[in-house]
Symmetry: C2
Subunit: 422 residues, 2 copies
């Protein structure tokens, strides 16, 4: 009796270990090829576009041509209504398939948007590239539906990680973003391995992980800065809502007044060009990572966050491609730098807090935001960062970048709600 | 029409903000009184017991008397079958009430166990003290059932945080441990505020946050140490299973052969004393934080982890009180130091990894383990720590310290299982 039980248990564990090993191998493949390969390529492509645009500022005037090309490309490939990252989230939590052609499309379209100076990010694109390639790899190996969810997350984490150089935050992001309040721990080992390998290879190939030097946060927690940071976080939640709402409204107005996508992208480009020229700087073109670094260093213009919100909404709503995550960093960092200074905080610390809070407010991922903060600024600020992210998470309500994201628990009362963001 | 909608929205937000403020005030109260007050008191009480025992080693021979007192105390207060931390977990996820007398009982019993040299921890006791006081405070304010879940988590996080000095990890632990795979984000702001205040006050009152200096981990991720760490993590998962199983088996054997609780604690004490004397050291008495520090410094005896498993199981199974968490640190650190050295790792790094992995394996909380690692050892090791915790989480199967913990997703296949640990 005892012996059969033991034998049964041994067989059980043998099966478990085989599954475990299968996943280790799969996630190594995804980490190396999709993250380390495609992710690094994407990193260098975007580096090149930014460099080229900086050297040839007149490229901005070709924005309409770039826009027409993107609209044509998507339509030529049969993608009429592009739902981007939403499709990736759906593929993680439902049987909805994820078309593999999404990867090259967003890859090219994001590069074109950046080359001609549209205001857009990269990490949302990374989620789409990685997610759809991961899903495609899973189909190739004839994985079942549930396993496809896991490979999709592996791909998301891997490309994000290669691009940004923050493997832990990238892995947690892939598990946290789909259904907020749930952590897909079935994917824990595969996603972690893929993300670590991706960033490891990317950095070996010369990709520079994002990292900022923050003026000393000081150790321990002090009451006054904690209060200032809490107040700043609450204001950042409002900025996060403003950003999401502006994106939604811009998209709606564009579709309403310019139903033809070619006309829409042309008019949108014109608006973006005019507004960019009026600002008199190239700060708002592309991802604007240099502006973020300047804000962390303590310098930002008060109007920068409003202009970035507007220009990103005008760019993406018109039909250009790219992510909303780096813009959320830009908006948060510039707002936090300015407002933090007004509240009596060190402006650099204000920028760091603002960046994490607006990000947390628009993606509703407090643990990812915390880990991102630790990775970008070091662990000594973790208590402040966590307080800030918690407040921004709660007060940003149910707005979010991704219509297919669900929030499982009420942010205000302890109850299960399973609500979609809006 | 538009106006009524706006008015409706404004009222909605007014209600949300009022709820938010109510929770901020409640969590400040819990953080200050329960965490900063009771938690700090508990910290100093345990400091005193350890100091006293170190100065008077003969106190070990009074262990049987201490045991008799604990059994008598619990029975006099009408607690016959003590389920300890399990009751706290139940109170977070079910309408099951949590008796307030649990707090003073475990407070005193843990101190007695430590004073007379039983092998036990403190953090499990912290969860019980904090959880039941938080729950009691909620009853006092006539909160409804769901709000009681949140105040219970606030209390858990607060006392853990005051005792250990790791507020972020403590807050995440309270939200992660009950139902693994779910994050109770409704409690995010209150738990974070309570935990931060608790550790802030405790450190102002002189409690020293736990922190270790780890020989430089090096920046970036390298293949060879990653492989060594992955292998060590897999072995730690086996150690975690061994620890949990030994605890379960010891409890079962005790109850089977010594059904009378007074006789059980007497015989158990005798066993513990004999074994302690045979080891020829006081290393295994109490929590053994000095042994952990030594292991992180690179020195541990190969047999230490086995002896600590045995002595903790003999102590707790006999009826003594305290936690299993610091023992899991002890076991992991000493095992990791020794085995890490054999695998070619720096023994100190091996100890750090072992400590996090065995903890992660017995409580099934990978994100808490990661944050604990960052807080104790700094963020530079985060990629290694996360890899290690992920592997230990997956390979430790469904064993765990707390029978009332549920694991929502299979560790091996991506599917919902909602399984209790064993």
């Amino acid at each position: 009796m005892q012996k059969t039980k033991l034998k049964h248990k041994a067989e059980h564990w043998q099966k478990r270990l085989l599954t475990f090993l299968k996943w280790v191998l799969l996630s190594i493949g995804i980490g190396v090829l999709i993250g380390g390969g495609v992710g690094t390529l994407f990193y260098y492509l975007l580096q090149w576009t930014t460099q080229t645009r900086t050297n040839s500022p007149w490229l901005l005037f070709l924005l309409p041509a770039g826009g027409l090309f993107i609209v044509w490309l998507y339509r030529a490939c049969g993608v009429k209504q592009s739902r981007g990252t939403d499709l990736v989230l759906l593929a993680v939590r439902s049987p909805q398939p994820l078309p593999a052609r999404m990867a090259p499309l967003i890859f090219i379209a994001t590069a074109v948007t950046h080359l001609f100076g549209g205001s857009a990010g990269r990490e949302g694109a990374a989620l789409q590239i990685g997610g759809s390639l991961g899903y495609g790899a899973g189909r190739l190996f004839k994985l079942d539906e549930k396993a496809l969810h896991v490979v999709t997350m592996c791909g998301m984490g891997a490309v994000f990680s290669a691009l940004f150089g923050t493997p832990v935050a990238a892995a947690v992001f892939a598990m946290e973003v789909v259904s907020v309040g749930q952590m897909y721990y079935s994917a824990l080992v595969p996603v972690t391995i893929s993300s670590l390998l991706a960033s490891g290879i990317a950095s070996r190939l010369g990709a520079v992980p994002t990292h900022y030097i923050l003026a000393e946060v000081g150790s321990g927690l002090h009451l006054l800065p904690a209060l200032q940071i809490a107040l700043l976080a609450a204001l950042c939640a409002a900025v996060a809502i403003l950003f999401c709402q502006t994106l939604h409204i811009a998209g709606r107005l564009y579709r309403q007044f310019l139903p033809n996508p070619y006309l829409r992208v042309l008019m949108g480009s014109a608006l973006v060009i005019v507004l960019m020229l009026l600002t008199g700087t190239s700060d708002y073109e592309g991802a604007g990572t240099n502006v973020i670094a300047r804000a962390i260093g303590g310098h930002a213009r008060p109007e920068a966050f409003v202009l970035k919100i507007l220009l990103t909404a005008l760019t993406l709503g018109a039909g250009f491609k790219g992510g909303e995550i780096v813009p959320s960093f830009f908006i948060g960092a510039t707002f936090g730098c300015w407002m933090g200074g007004l509240l009596g905080l060190d402006p650099g610390l204000g920028a760091a807090v603002g960046m994490l809070c607006v990000f947390c407010g628009v993606v509703n991922c407090p643990l990812t935001a915390l880990l991102l903060g630790c990775s970008l600024f070091g662990y000594s600020g973790a208590p402040y960062f966590f307080l800030a992210c918690a407040i921004s998470y709660a007060l940003s309500g149910y707005t979010g970048l991704y219509a297919e994201q669900t929030i499982l628990y009420s942010k205000f009362r302890p109850q299960f709600i399973n609500k979609r963001t809006e």
